[in-house]
């Protein structure tokens, strides 16, 4: 046996288990989702009827689905934008400024990320409590009674209340990621810039931002995936999609259709849309943010 051949066999044997597992647990189920979306099926018995793209036609006219889709898109945009701004701000303050107890703050910011979503739901339902909640109490203390709201009851703002909880939860994680990017930028760049008379903001926009750009791009994909997933968990635990569908996101709608409404095939059709949407969105975002990677 030639050396090359035996090496190839070795490589093939090494990767076969991984490929098998990947195929079994990722490719096959994904394929099944696509296949099931073409059936009318309750989900339990053997009575499946093939109905082609009918589920998708119904989906196109389903106002509740469209509402949940809008909610999801709104959440993805809001959470990504707010978290990026806040996380980058704190990351640059904590790495570049001489702040008291940097490590302490880093841990404090990170804590929400290790909490389970159910606990976050509990915390925020206490924060948003109309009567004794933190938010309304603080507004009352500051004599801003006119700003007090039914944070989880007013259908116009409940989706923003949800976004608030998601941002709070996400900041720490992304802040740590940006901090690690910033920490690897050589200090000499900033020294040179300040000798040239560049202010803090100029330093940030001309040095920090371009050099962590790649880091930032990667996290954009994370925002899309994690918001889709976490919003489902948070909605399930905190608002149940209510009041009257105002906080329904597409995964929670998919769940209620696949199970509560016994239309498993239709639920899978929603799954196909969500799958395609998140894939395309991630690809588009990655494409339009592509810049030449700066070396340092």
């Amino acid at each position: 046996m030639s050396r090359k051949r035996s090496r190839n066999i070795f490589i093939a044997t090494c990767i076969t288990p991984a490929i098998m597992l990947f195929a079994l647990f990722m490719v096959v189920p994904t394929f099944e989702v696509f296949r099931m979306s073409l059936y009318n099926w309750g989900g339990l018995s053997g009575n499946k009827t093939f109905i082609g793209f009918n589920n998708f036609k119904v989906l196109w006219n389903d106002m509740r689905f469209i509402q949940s889709f809008q909610n999801s898109v709104l959440l993805i945009v809001l959470v990504a934008v707010l978290t990026i701004v806040v996380a980058i701000f704190f990351a640059s303050v904590l790495t570049k400024e001489k702040v008291f107890a940097t490590n302490f703050f880093r841990i404090v910011f990170y804590i929400p990320n290790i909490l389970s979503v159910v606990i976050i739901a509990g915390i925020f339902s206490a924060v948003y409590n109309p009567r004794t909640g933190l938010l309304n109490s603080i507004l009352g203390l500051l004599n801003l009674e006119q700003l007090q709201r039914q944070w989880l009851g007013n259908q116009d703002i409940v989706i923003y209340s949800l976004a608030g909880a998601l941002v709070w939860q996400a900041i720490g994680y992304y802040m740590v990621m940006y901090m690690s990017g910033m920490a690897s930028i050589p200090e000499s760049y900033y020294e040179a810039a300040s000798l040239e008379g560049a202010g803090k903001f100029k330093q940030f926009s001309a040095i920090t931002l371009p050099l962590i750009w790649n880091n930032l791009r990667t996290t954009l994909t994370f925002y899309i995936i994690s918001t889709i997933n976490l919003s489902f968990l948070l909605v399930t635990a905190m608002t149940g999609g209510g009041p009257d569908g105002s906080t329904e996101v597409f995964l929670s709608y998919m769940y209620s259709q696949a199970y509560s409404n016994s239309t498993y095939g239709y639920g899978m059709a929603i799954g196909v849309v969500v799958f395609t949407f998140s894939f395309v969105l991630a690809a588009v975002v990655s494409r339009i943010t592509k810049r030449e990677v700066l070396e340092f």
Binding site: W41, G42, N47, L152, G153, Q155, M238, G242, D244, S262
Partner: protein, 458 residues
Amino acid sequence: MKMKHVFLAMMLMLLVVLAACGGGDTEETDTGEDTTGNDTEETTDDSPSEPQTLHVAALESAYGVDVWEKIIAAYEEAHGNVTIDLTIERNIEEVMRPNMQAGEYPDVFLLATDREEALTETMIKENALASLEDMLTMNVFGEQVTVEDKLLDGFTDTLATNPYADGETYLAPMFYSPTGLFYNANLLEEYGWDAPTTWDEMFELGEKALAEDIYLFTYPVAGYFDTLLRSMLYASGDVDLFNAAMTYEEGVWESAEGRRVLETIEKLADYTHPDTVANANPNDFVRNQQLVLDNEAIFMPNGTWVVGEMAEAPRVDGFEWGMMPVPAFEEGGTRYAFTFFEQVWVPSQAENVEGGKEFISFLYSDQAAEIFLEAGAAQPIEGIVNMMDDEQAFFYSIYSNDVLPAMGTFASTTPVPGVSIGDELYVKIDSVMSGRVTVDEWVNSLEQANDSLRPAMN
């Protein structure tokens, strides 16, 4: 070469792990005693001399696990020839669904409709239940009376037990519980207010209460309107309107009687505690129930379980639970209190269908009823109220000459994607309360939903 050995060993380990995972699909069961019974040994022969194994699945509800273990012990002792394998979990749907999808069905399943995961509804919609007609004519296990005769009247005439509206029973009624409007009896007494019997009196009381800074009404979550609305349908247009609504008849919500139910709900919005909608979610609904305990709201739709649910909650001094049927629309009109009950059923693909039916008949025996009653669950059988203690009997004696039980649920349909009558009728109430949806819009969306569901009825 050494590397190859290490690699081989690792592959072997991986295989072992995979094999172990693959073999691990015997479901976790919480058995009363250690069962040696193994599903594959089960025989379909149900002659009494052959030992048989029965697989029972049940939802672990507020009544606890103990009660089922006692029932099973009693049945095994009485029968002598059966071993029962019990699976009881709080998330029973999640535990059983994969097994059922793989074709392993329990022989008896205690799981009501109207649950989030809707496993029972799915079984109904897929025509996967065994008919229980012959069980009704069987003698109650160990007694000389047929199941049919022993059950309270009306319990097997509803769409909740005969889902296809053809008179055939597929789900047996279990654990009935009257629902109604719950309140603090002491509060009404303190102010000298009478419990209203008509909606006009109800709204008068609402005005009086508002003057005292008390709101007339609150609800835990919009889903609790199911019992209230169905009682109102009975009160507004009798059984005809109710059945028309439950079978998605055209124009039922546009009719004067149907409309007045929805209009009453809309009017109720003016008297509903302002925090209600904000708390009407799975996380915070107890806060709405607390409003009643704190004298901030008077009435809420609920069932007898709320007494146990709020047992540990703080309350105003002198608080005393009261329950009244839903007000009538006219003076002297009949009032209704919806009777909520759970269901037990046999999957048609179960291995031991006959054994399952026999077990269900035992659940209506006096012996079983007493065991259930100890845990607070009342079986819908003749003479059950006599077995109760005073507190229990108070709630169950709500029915009288002018207060009738309302029972039943929506007719089953084949799955219709994107249309849920529960969403349109109950969940929408959150929007009606906030004024976002008018009665006209509500009627329209209900009629539209009915148009899609009517042709899909089984």
